[in-house]
Amino acid sequence: MAGLELRNPTMNAAGVLGISAPLLKRIYEGGAGAVVTKSLGGPQRMGHSNPTLVSVEGGALNAMGLPNPGAEYFVEMIRELKGDGVPVVASFFGGSIEEFRDVALVLSEAGVDALEVNVSCPNVAEEMGMLGADPMNTEKVTEAVKEVAKSPVIVKLSPNVTDICEIARAAERGGADAITAVNTLKGLAVDADLRRPILTNVTGGLSGPALKPVALRCVWEIYEAVEIPIIGCGGISNWRDAVEYLLSGATAVEIGTAAMDGGFDIYGKIAEGIREYLVENGFKEVKDIVGLAHGG
């Protein structure tokens, strides 16, 4: 996938457990093909205060607020993981194009296997989170990151846009090696008894099964719009979900909210389920079914 050789096509979604090397290592031991760090920025961030997550119909709504220790601080964790033979994708963000480039440089020099550009967090100020709502900014950020990156650059897109294909094409023009589709869908939970929003941030990002049809549609559309590979993300809870993403055009998948249910071994279970599906249906490898649902 985009020059990466992984033992299987599963990863954790950014933000899920990726705050320390030991937790990421446990995800790898749980069977993931690679691990994705929490989104790292230049300065450290404490994130929003609780409540930051609540279960809603068909999924979870969260607004963590990009807590992270800062990219420089995290370099040691990346080295520790690399030392243990774990493939690492570093998710990161910036408050400006310069910061995106600076953080990309730090992470790239730390030896990550790929960079995932988070231009799609719905839960922080717009200049930091949703640069990816605009095609021109997406292209500029991608170009800036590509200038300094020593490893493949993946751009993670938001479903909270009118036309995701336009943004995907902008990332491709900027030189992206792959696209992750998608980040969480902006949502809201209000409590009838308290008569107020539940999350401190008011709005949050919806993940879990409720997100799946939306995210799957995004993957489908992007597959028809660009040539670069896609990592599918959104509500994948079992191997069938993962296979549906592959058939719709994804080359790999990221799994997040399902870890709440399945724990760390969900990655291995889904990878094994994909493998069995391939064998039972006479396919040799994952790429044989990528985009197959699009027909001829």
């Binding site: 320390s20 937790l23 446990r26 205060s49 609780n50 008894d193 308290l194 401190t200 709440m260």
Partner: protein, 274 residues
């Protein structure tokens, strides 16, 4: 709510039925909640005064009639907001979460420090109900900070032993030193501890020297409470879901962090200072 996971993870709102003054400036908050009443000792709830932050609190009483409680010490904005609440006020609740203690062996020693007694009391109740005779060390800085002594005395009688740092009640000195002394006199086969981490680490050292297994309830910065965000990471473990109760074996595995360091909200390591 659909069948997506358990309803425990959604926010539900209940009214406090009673707010009781406890030792020092601590308060117990009582409410009726069926899910919590099905919880086990050592589990916690995410409790929310909507004027402040949602925080984790161990179940301090688990009534079969549906009535439960937590004990809060006002140490920051959120805990102060909780302590300032009255009967009839609405709180948000998620949970109960976490693994809880496992009753093992026939001769248990419970070591509580400060509000840690809240999490160990329902465990002692369960043990007594099962016919065990637990020894319970209740430690605090001074006499006026000893939590729930009345209910513990009526439950345990002379097996409730107190210790205070200043000697104003019971044994004078640290709970870990007292525990060490008791272990010399009697053979215990499982130690349960909850309290300041420095104290629990000291108890663990004593337990290890004597080869007695331990279960410790740990505290970290819990945000999501469902094992997703990682903010409560302790080595390879999530305190919110893999814990909060950890075995000796697990504590050995995280010995570089237990009693020494924890993650701040950004994920940077900071010193454990109490």
């Amino acid at each position: 709510m659909s069948d997506w996971r358990t309803e425990a993870e959604a926010m539900r709102v209940v009214r406090l039925t009673k707010v009781k003054e406890e030792a020092g400036d601590m308060r117990s908050l009582h409410f009726a909640d069926e899910r919590c009443s099905e919880g086990v000792p050592g589990q916690y709830v995410m409790i929310w005064n909507p004027a402040a932050e949602e925080v984790p609190m161990s179940l301090a009483s688990i009534g079969e009639d549906g009535n439960v409680s937590v004990v809060v010490r006002p140490v920051g904005e959120s805990t102060e907001a909780l302590c300032g609440m009255s009967a009839g006020d609405k709180i948000g609740l998620r949970g109960p979460f976490g693994n809880g203690y496992v009753v093992q062996g026939s001769s248990p020693l419970l070591v509580a420090g400060g509000t840690g007694a809240a999490s160990l009391r329902p465990l002692a109740e369960e043990m007594v109900a099962e016919g065990l005779k637990p020894t319970f060390i209740l430690g605090a800085r001074s006499k006026d900070q000893l939590l729930m002594t009345e209910s513990l005395v009526s439950l345990l009688g002379e097996n409730l032993l107190t210790t205070t740092d200043d000697g104003s009640h019971g044994y004078r000195g640290y709970a870990s030193t007292y525990a060490d002394q008791l272990m010399k006199e009697k053979k215990y086969d499982m130690i349960y501890t909850c309290g300041p981490e420095i104290m629990m680490a000291a108890v663990f050292q004593v337990a290890e020297e004597r080869g007695i297994p331990m279960q410790a309830s740990l505290d970290r910065y819990i945000k999501c409470a469902v094992g997703l965000c990682g903010s409560c990471g302790l080595g390879p473990y999530r305190v919110c879901k893999d814990g909060p109760v950890f075995s000796s074996e697990q504590l050995r595995e995280v010995r570089n962090e237990f009693g020494k360091s924890r993650m701040d909200p950004s994920g940077r390591a900071i010193k454990v200072d109490h």
